[in-house]
């Protein structure tokens, strides 16, 4: 189990690698598409990286509900091992 802080920083690493998001910008209130300019294909890559890093499974119908960094953190917290 990762802490919220660990999840946020792990997610920030993924966002930087996949989409070039500056880690300091990856705060919970940020929308992936509106604020961080992450397109739909990059969201798929991010989801795959999250699955590998945190050992969670993100079904496609759940991915559509993850709009913000905070949504992703909550999803990981709820579903991890």
């Amino acid at each position: 189990m990762s802490s919220t802080q660990e999840i946020q920083s792990g997610l920030a690493e993924i966002l930087e690698e996949v989409a070039g998001v500056t880690p300091a910008d990856a705060t919970p209130e940020k929308s992936f598409t509106e604020d961080l300019d992450v397109d739909s294909l990059s969201m798929v890559e991010i989801a795959t990286a999250v699955e590998d890093k945190f050992g969670v499974a993100i079904p496609d119908d759940e991915l559509g509900n993850i709009k913000t960094v905070g949504d992703a953190i909550s999803f990981i917290e709820k579903n991890q091992g």
Binding site: V18, A19, G20, L41, S42, V44, E45, T48
Partner: protein
Amino acid sequence: MSTSDVVVTGLGATTPLGGDVSSTWDALLAGRSGVSRITDDWIKEYPAQLVARLATEPSEQIDRVRARRLDRSQQVAVVAAEEAWRDSGAGDAGVDPLRIAVVIGTGIGGALTLLDQDDVLEAKGPKRVSPFTIPMLMPNGPAAAVGLSIGAKGGVHAPVSACASGAEAIRWGLDLLRFDRADVVLVGGTEACVHPLPMAGFAAMRAMSTRNDEPERASRPFDKARDGFVLGEGAAALVLEREDSARARGARIHARLAGAAGTADGYDLVAPHPEGEGAARAITAALRDAGLSPADVGHVNAHATSTPVGDTAEAAAIRSAIGDHVLVSATKSQTGHLLGAAGALESVFAILALREQIVPATANLENPDDDANVQALDIVRGEPRRASLTAAVNDSFGFGGHNIALVFTTA
């Protein structure tokens, strides 16, 4: 049809000789080779182990996040296109995006992505295949990436005719301008498929040089001891405009694109017609299109890949369509064979030869082939040769029997 001539206002390239046009041209005139021997483990079983790798990695020229969504063939296309676009100044000229078009050809497309993602599929399953796989492997991907880069909304096109693709793109660009379907067209070719599978495929055709111990001497067009081509990677791009609008905006004009033509051999899927009949028809038709006679042509940048049958067929075509007076260069002797980028790169060389009034030498041409046509041609070797040139031809041929000829004249 517009009556205005079409001119070349921008040039770009990234090649085994250099990361841009000027470094590539300088290395070409200096006689440097871009060919080296592959040292990776996988190559050990291969009969042909040579390659002409890029002089500058595209990762040094493109932002990392942008690069990871582009196949290598797209990356090099973008590098070359952005150089040509900057060189033309068209981006600052307020051209309506609806009147900007792109034509970028490739012989093979995103082969590296296809093969890499197949490895991912085999190792990790379908859910781990990248969502960028399709836009990275599709053969129109380089044209689309370039179109996005320069903001072209007037049409983005991707001719695919094997090793004639880059030249075919230039011909399409000429047509778009003559039919007034665009005001500025960025054209070119790209290729990046150095990987075990394409290497094995070309080797299985017995098309590649096996002179593994002498990389720099392996690509030797028209030489008696030639034994195949050396696979190269890279891209080249040109910006084309109608002369009246180019002059109106004060653009620098490198040369004119005076004419173009394409033919099909109708002979064999891969073997060229032995007398170069279709190639000669293309050259003759391109000269007619340009309103020139064979005597006007001072220089040919030949396709000449260093294969035994291809070079003699081309020599026959050049002799019958142009004559023995013309100065011939085979620059693949130094760059290797860039497949779908070859025609674009060699057009850049033909344009620079006209602009600088100097004809590059053909490296490694020590003993010209006994073939009567090769013997009769004036193939420049040793050192580049100063010449008074008004018109130059670039011809390109592709598996499938595609022949494209382009005619450039001085500005």
